[in-house]
Amino acid sequence: MFTNFPFFPEQASAQAAQVDGLYFFMVAVTAFFSLLIATVLVITAIYHRRRHEDEVGVQIHGSLALELLWTVIPFFITMVMFTWGAKVFFDQYRPPAGAMEITIVGKQWMWKAQHFDGMREINELHVPVGRPVKLMMGSEDVLHSFYIPAFRVKADVIPGRYNVLWFTATKPGKYHLFCAEYCGTKHSGMIGWIYAMDPTEFQTWLNGGPRSDSPAAAGEKLFNDLVCVSCHRDDAQARGPQLKGLFGHTVRLQGGATVTADESYIRESIVNPQAKIVDGFAPIMPTFQGMVTEEQVLQLIAYIRSLGALAPPPPASPAGAAPQVPGKD
């Protein structure tokens, strides 16, 4: 029990030092004021201790100057803390462009990860040091939370939508991964390890080992198996919007609103297609909710991302045409 007895977590990411800096400042302020109050309290009380039974204190109403002083100073200190905390958060919440993408799916009670080239992991995540890594996270069932103490990062994993978490590991090593949102019986068993490796070692690891299809390839298979291609095609038979080059671009919806075609939009289009109808198309896409798992949705998204530049739009199909029973292409 006494052999491994840390008091303070390792700093293994670029943002860890930022978070710790704020932490130490707040510890200092807390210690200072707690000790100050405690000392003043005890010393003043002992100095003014009652000396005979009938003794009474001096009735002092108050002091506006003092009240203002001990309102303004704490306000100033708290505003420093607020600004600092907001800045650390703000720097942290948006992942940089070009970050290496990994998809995470949490389900009771395990973490499934898939790298961009197909490498899968369960309850473990290998990442390179020195490169931003972006995790796109979904849940199969209930709330979870992906937490790496050594990196000082955490984000809830919420069913029905995606959350993003990113970090840049700075120190090779093995670090705890915890689920930090209570999710049922084996919540404390939903843990694992993050392996941060030198970039060359990481590449070696990535190349070796059994792999399945890359998410994009798996997505392409699904796209054909589910016959999405019967409507989303680039000829005159197309009844759905073109998907080539769609990802990341602005989509014009019926009614004039626009939306960016990001992961959340594509996921919604698959599980709840009636929510947003693209301008110039009929609302005939069926929902695939219940027919695809969260993991499969992420694979379809990876496939759609991998499609190339936008092809010229086909001639518009007759609006309101009833969908035919999809046959083989």
Binding site: F7, M26, Q59, I60, A65, P74, I158, A180, Y182
Partner: protein, 534 residues
């Protein structure tokens, strides 16, 4: 010949169970919340015993999850929220405003029965298998996946909420309409101000948790999909609705304790408080701003970063009025006539521990830092510093201070000092290591944990054992004092206040005629001039 007082005015169970006397109702509450405190403490004991070792070897995971859930539900809804208002507030507020009773005595009794019924529902849920959702009932686990008796427990919380609402309603009307002649708002004791502010929160916030848990029960029982993502519902909406009440709820737990501390500090320095109007208004400020900070529980769930910044900013602002109180209490000590009786020891403990607890709350309000410590033992330590180091010590201090008034008996002061010190040390040993464990990364609600956290957990469990003994001792000597304690005079402390002008224990009607008040009720006349600085 014994004088007639509220305790001996009418004998038999019916005279207690059908009483309209606010003082008897306060004692009914005292008995029931003490029972729930013991139950909640029992669950805590099992949690801490399990956490002695890293492996989950004492209880199954499911049982452990039920233990921490029931500990939270019982302690929050059935102990902390009612405690000071229902016991001390019920007893003292009519007396402190110079009235014969609260505005609505029968509604007061009804609120106790509602509390008991809600408690029975919750105990039934516990005994018939237990609930394992955490006291926060987060969806979709609570509506779709949890095992156990979520509906029963949710209904128990729903029912008990009305006890809180009716208490708050009663206090508000009493303070507005039943003050004695001459008792203007700015002559009221600070205990009354803090309970008034608490009552505002009770009436505005509690209905929201009521409808929220009702929706959870409806979703689970009737398959109405409000929070269910499979039906297009939003699980984070539950979090917003839940915390809209549950954050102000923590101010329901602490504001009455702050009122108690204001009274104790004045009585045991024999001085009126330094900065009365600042302390009075700070209670209102805490109540109001406290309604605007709930989003700080949802920073990592993906709400808009700009919304997060607003919540973070306001969470820092809400700390300022609390800081003002701490400074004013400390300033009151200066040139006071300080006595170190056990209520004052509890007050000192409160001021120190509440300062630490409040300042660690700022760690959580800082968004960038919250990412790391959210849902870890850091949060657990923070809120126990406020709720145990703060609220419970305030409650015990108040019980000791007003015990002679309530029962007409004295308690053994030596034992009281001893247990106060034992509680203080046991408490710190229990919860300070949890700050360290939390920053290290130990998540909360963990049945088993990695071995490097063991030393901290062992220290924490050792502290909890000491704390438990510290709590048992007053149970024993208070019970003893009720039957065999030395009898008390009207004013055993030499304190000022309307409650000390009437006998201990008071007659049923408190005052035969309304007292006519001529000045603030906490002025002590000192040989020197009254001094007003600045």
């Amino acid at each position: 010949m014994e004088t007639v007082n509220y305790l001996n005015n009418g004998h038999g169970l019916k005279s207690w169970l059908l009483t309209k006397d606010h003082k008897r109702i306060a004692l009914l509450y005292l008995v029931s919340i003490t029972l729930f405190f013991v139950i909640g403490g029992f669950f805590a004991m099992l949690v801490r015993l399990e956490l002695l070792t890293p492996a989950g070897d004492l209880l199954t995971a499911e049982t452990y999850n039920k233990m921490f859930t029931m500990h939270g539900v019982v302690m929050v809804f059935f102990f902390l929220i009612p405690s000071i208002p229902a016991v001390l507030g019920n007893f003292l507020i009519p007396i402190m405003v110079g009235a014969k009773d609260l505005a609505f005595p029968r509604i007061n009794l009804l609120s106790w029965y509602i509390y008991v019924v809600g408690g029975i529902f919750t105990l039934v849920a516990a005994l018939s298998g237990g609930v394992d959702t955490g006291w926060t009932f987060y969806t979709p686990y609570s509506t779709a996946a949890a095992n156990g008796h979520v509906i029963t427990a949710a209904l128990g919380v729903f029912i008990t909420g009305f006890s809180s609402i009716l208490t708050g309603l009663n206090f508000i009307v009493t303070v507005h309409r039943m003050r004695a002649p001459g008792l203007t708002w700015f002559r009221l004791p600070l205990f009354v101000w803090s309970h008034y502010a608490t009552s505002l929160i009770m009436i505005l916030g509690t209905p929201v948790i009521a409808i929220t848990v009702l929706l959870v029960a409806a979703e689970r029982g009737l398959h109405l999909g409000i929070f269910d993502p499979a039906l297009g519902g939003d699980p984070v909406l539950f979090q917003h609705l839940f915390w809209f009440y549950s954050h102000p709820a923590v101010y329901i737990m602490i504001l009455p304790a702050m009122g108690v501390i204001s009274e104790i500090v004045q009585a045991f320095t024999r001085k009126n408080i330094f900065g009365y109007s600042f302390v009075a208004f700070s209670s209102l400020a805490i109540a109001i701003i406290g309604f605007l900070v709930w989003g700080h529980h949802i920073f990592v769930a993906g709400q808009s970063v700009y919304a997060g910044m607003v919540f973070s900013f306001l969470s820092f602002v809400v700390a300022i009025p609390s800081a003002i109180k701490v400074f004013n209490w400390t300033a009151t000590i200066y040139k006071g006539s300080v006595s170190f009786d056990s209520p004052m020891l509890y007050a000192f403990g409160f001021i120190g521990l509440f300062t630490i607890g409040g300042l660690t709350g700022l760690f959580l309000a800082a968004m960038g830092l919250d990412i790391h410590v959210h849902d870890t033992y850091f949060v657990v330590a923070h809120f126990h510093y406020i709720m145990v180091g703060g609220a419970i010590m305030g409650y015990l201090g108040g019980l000791h201070y007003w015990w002679p008034k309530i029962t007409g008996r004295l308690y053994p002061e030596g034992w009281a000092k001893f247990s106060a010190l034992m509680i203080f040390s046991g408490f710190n040993l229990t919860f300070f290591p949890q700050f360290i464990a939390g920053y290290l990364g130990m998540p909360r609600r963990y049945h088993a944990y990695p071995p490097e956290f063991q030393v901290l957990n062992v220290a924490s469990t050792l502290g909890a054992s000491i704390l438990a003994v510290g709590y048992v001792i007053p149970l024993v000597y208070f019970a003893y004092s009720m039957v065999a304690g030395e009898k008390s005079v009207n004013d055993p402390w030499g304190a000022r206040g309307l409650e000390w002008e009437i006998p201990s224990p008071p007659p049923t009607e408190n005052f035969t005629v309304s007292p006519v008040v001529t000045e603030g009720t906490h002025q002590y006349v000192h040989p020197s001039q009254e001094v007003g600085l600045a």
